[in-house]
Symmetry: C2
Subunit: 321 residues, 2 copies
């Protein structure tokens, strides 16, 4: 086993695309040896810069991501993309039109694109996206873009996994307000006002800036998010966005925030991983069976969910009458 893992590790480190694809599948599905593989690769990671791209549906995140890929390729950087897509069992692949379009970029040697599902996955999405990012990092992709669909909790978590989080909005009325509601304001390092050739773009940008100034200003060693205007379809503003991402990177490094963010991220990840291990060893067949026996009793209001949980965690399974 270890020999096979060693072979796979070496193949991924030299950038073998098939090995990368298989490695990601192994990690995603937690196939035997996945953790050993990641542990080995991890030592060779840490060089990549991780960019999170998030925002409400329809804001043009895929387009922005595509243009960023093109930008970084022009600057001779290899780009790995993790597209976090909710699984839709019955819609299947047909709906992934923009994802397919994006694949044309991936024909390019220096680009690797992978979709990840938000449902039915083992482990937390956050943890899994980071695992895949580590793998791509070790495989030599200098830029890793994590693009998320929607603005739910799991998407916010993925954004936490990035070094720079870009929130993409559009000038439609109420969008900034919705962004605040969704908690996007707290995670944004940079805002992109996309489709900024549309009517209302000026007002939307000023509204957003006003909201940002309402934020309690801290000392000079705090980063202040700014707003970048783009037109995703033409690529307008993408170079400025990339420069601002770079600027954010330098700012964080200078002020010791980069290290701090990474350490915090790893702490959170180990916490999740440990809880996952804990949960796995807890849910033995006996305990799962007991849970199945308890569920109808709960529906019938014979015992409460709280009592059932306490019962499961405090009693030896053998000791239950």
């Amino acid at each position: 086993m270890s020999e096979e893992i060693e072979r796979q590790t070496r193949a991924i480190l030299r950038g073998d695309r098939l090995a990368i694809t298989r490695g990601i599948t192994k990690v995603e599905n937690e196939k035997e040896g996945w953790d050993e593989l990641l542990s080995r690769l991890y030592r060779h990671s840490g060089e990549a810069y991780r960019i999170g791209v998030t925002g409400p549906p329809g804001a043009g995140k895929s387009t922005i991501t595509q243009k960023l890929i093109a930008y970084y390729r022009e600057h001779n950087k290899n780009v790995g993309v993790i597209a976090v897509d909710p699984t839709s069992p019955f819609t299947g692949g047909a709906i992934l039109g923009d994802r397919v379009r994006m694949q044309s970029e991936s024909m390019n040697e220096g680009v690797f694109i992978r979709s990840m599902a938000t449902r039915g996955n083992l482990g937390g999405l956050n943890t899994k996206a980071q695992d895949v990012a580590d793998l791509l990092d070790a495989a030599g992709f200098g830029i890793i873009i994590m693009e998320t669909v929607g603005v739910g909790q799991s998407e916010l978590d993925v954004a936490d996994a990035a070094d720079t989080t870009v929130v993409v909005l559009v000038p439609e009325s109420g969008d900034s307000i919705q962004a605040m509601k969704s908690g996007l304001m707290e995670i944004a390092d940079l805002f992109v006002m996309n489709k900024s050739d549309r009517d209302g773009a000026d007002q939307a940008v000023s509204a957003l800036k006003t909201i940002l100034t309402m934020r309690i200003t801290h000392a000079n060693d705090q980063w202040h998010p700014d707003v970048i205007r783009t037109v995703g379809t033409t690529g307008k503003g993408i170079d400025i966005l990339a420069q601002r991402i770079d600027h954010h990177h330098h700012f964080m490094t200078e002020h010791g925030l980069f290290q701090k963010r990474q350490t915090h991220r790893e702490e959170q990840r180990v916490r999740e991983l440990a809880e996952e291990l804990l949960s796995k060893s807890f849910w033995t067949e006996e305990r799962s069976t007991l849970l199945k026996e308890l569920a109808p009793k709960i529906s019938a209001r014979d015992i409460s969910p709280q009592e059932a949980a306490l019962h499961l965690t405090t009693h030896e399974v053998g000791a239950i009458e």
Copy 2:
């Protein structure tokens, strides 16, 4: 303690609003006795019907919820509303305009509205929303509406907690497509095409219906979601929506699906509760300290997150050198 809990239980059971408010706060923050309180109340719950209202931001979920409240009040039902709102620490209360508007309804004796945050909460949001629903159920609210903001994973989980899940969409182009992407298609028992007086409503409804027929049809004992046209602002279509919710309820009961859904729900909940208890007893001060010591070593690539997690879960803390 038990005496105080008993007093609080009785006050909630007779519908005392202050006791309900305090009870929910206790449950949300897991203050001492919260689980005992819920266990006691649980025996008196099971009468309420739980409706989930979800959909993309801006679709008009709050308006639909308000009109449903009015409908059920006219039909002499008490309505409890759990509005799942992402917390936004810096925007504070100012942004909750529609929530405040909604409060005018809650002046009404038969209505109780409570907001829940999606961030910074103890326990899973899903579990907590169910806890609050149980409490309101025991307090005599015959209809419980769980309204969620956004379409992320946690929102989908909340929808799983409902007996009937209503997905609210608007006729804007691509919205149905986005809904599919977000996994809303799989959880919808009923679709509402809101703002259906707008241009493009007819096409949007047909597009959605076409998508729905693409779904593999099962036997006659399977529910087929349909599309209800509403205009939230005028209340048009709300009575039909309420009737369809009722129809779904009867259909599920007839075909034994209702009991099945509830049992599945309780099983999931106990699973989460048990894992929460497990996690709490695991993260002793010693283990938390160890984690903090490990994090910088991980950032420095001395050890991998997987190794750190394994170390935490398999070693006695005292035994670590």
